[in-house]
Symmetry: C2
Subunit: 205 residues, 2 copies
DNA sequence: AATTTCAGCGTACAAGTGTAAGCTTAATGT
DNA sequence: ACATTAAGCTTACACTTGTACGCTGAAATT
């Protein structure tokens, strides 16, 4: 027996189908701007014009995707931090968690990376905003854990996120074994930043 | 009196026109993959089909652009380093030089940033290669100047380049006064990395 | 002077795009 | 029970795209 669906349920389902279809389309060779409405519709299994019942245009959909991707990433890192104990290494755990996410959700991470430097100013600032949230959450954590000023924590957090995201971009295009190497390098690099800030705190200049 | 041109000269001139037209087209809202052959031809002042007399396709042209952009960047940094004296700060001079280049040649820097995470694997690895050259040259400089192992110099150089390029991406979308702020932050962040490596060298672990 | 080469052009076509207009049909409101 | 609403469909149109084909005219070669 099939379950009776309300109209609203059905609509939300289709909407989600479109979003999933878009993420599926956004592989290594497709960006949001090169993604066509008709292509998404085809994968989602609807007529091209039906797309408009859910989104104003592809831009509108794109912003939704960026928001979702950013949200997932932040939730991931929050759960990673909650797993960090007093004696486990915060850097190692965070890097490993993020790297795992990247390799298992390539397309989602790709959206953020691509649109960060993409051709739409709206997308760029949307991603920028997500990254700022990301940096802010890390900064708060660092400030509390390392007992340093907010200013220093912000600088440290930003540097770290930049290194990690850039490394993530590199990891997307390499083999699993290369990825482990990249992760190890990143851990050292983050440690340098942390050490440097600590040192700077002790004797500025 | 008009100067008589040989056929070869004329051809090279048109070729350069195409390259310049492409750089002109590659503004904030156009990437190599969203750039159409017809559009380039229009700006270059030639018929669409004439394009094929110079490049196999837009991909072919794109690789040329990436090479040129990377070359310009490396030459710039080399000349910057030659200007660094014993008492001038290497980080400050380098960051200022690069930031100046970025703001004055936005489109050229954009090509590298965009295609680094773009939709073409060929472009991505071409940019990756240019960045590796960039990192290598900086690494050699650091190794010689700071008297550290090649391994440490490589890690430091990579971290620095990642921070700088990521900051450059941010700078592309902001006002001149914001850009100065970004430059100042980057200088601190690079200093942290340098300090951290120095510290690590003294007492590993 | 005669011949070959080739950069650049115009035309043409198939394929893909966004989206406007209007229809169908089943869930919802009364 | 009937009227309304709205998700999804089909058709249609005006564009843009890459590129195949063949021509022209001037430079280069012989």
């Amino acid at each position: 027996m099939t379950i009776k669906k309300t109209r609203e349920q059905q609509k939300q389902e289709t909407r989600q189908n479109i979003i999933n279809a878009a993420f599926d389309c956004l592989d290594a060779e497709k960006s949001l701007s090169s993604l066509s409405l008709r292509e998404i519709a085809r994968v989602a299994g609807i007529a091209p014009t039906s797309f408009y019942r859910h989104f104003k245009d592809v831009n509108d959909l794109g912003l939704t995707l960026v928001d979702e991707a950013g949200l997932m990433l932040r939730q991931l890192m929050r759960s990673a931090r909650s797993r960090i104990t007093v004696d486990s290494n915060a850097i190692d755990t965070s890097v490993d968690t993020l790297m795992e996410f990247i390799t298992e959700n390539k397309n989602i991470f790709r959206v953020l990376l691509r649109e960060h430097t993409g051709t739409s100013a709206e997308f760029r600032s949307a991603v920028q905003r997500e990254i700022q949230y990301f940096i802010k959450e890390l900064s708060d954590y660092i400030m509390h854990r390392q007992q340093i000023s907010q200013h220093l924590a912000d600088l440290q957090s930003e540097a770290m996120v930049r290194i990690v995201f850039s490394a993530g971009a590199h990891a997307l295009d390499t083999s699993a074994c290369q990825q482990r190497l990249i992760a190890e390098k990143v851990k050292y690099q983050l440690m340098f930043v942390q050490l440097g800030v600590k040192q700077f705190k002790l004797k500025p200049e």
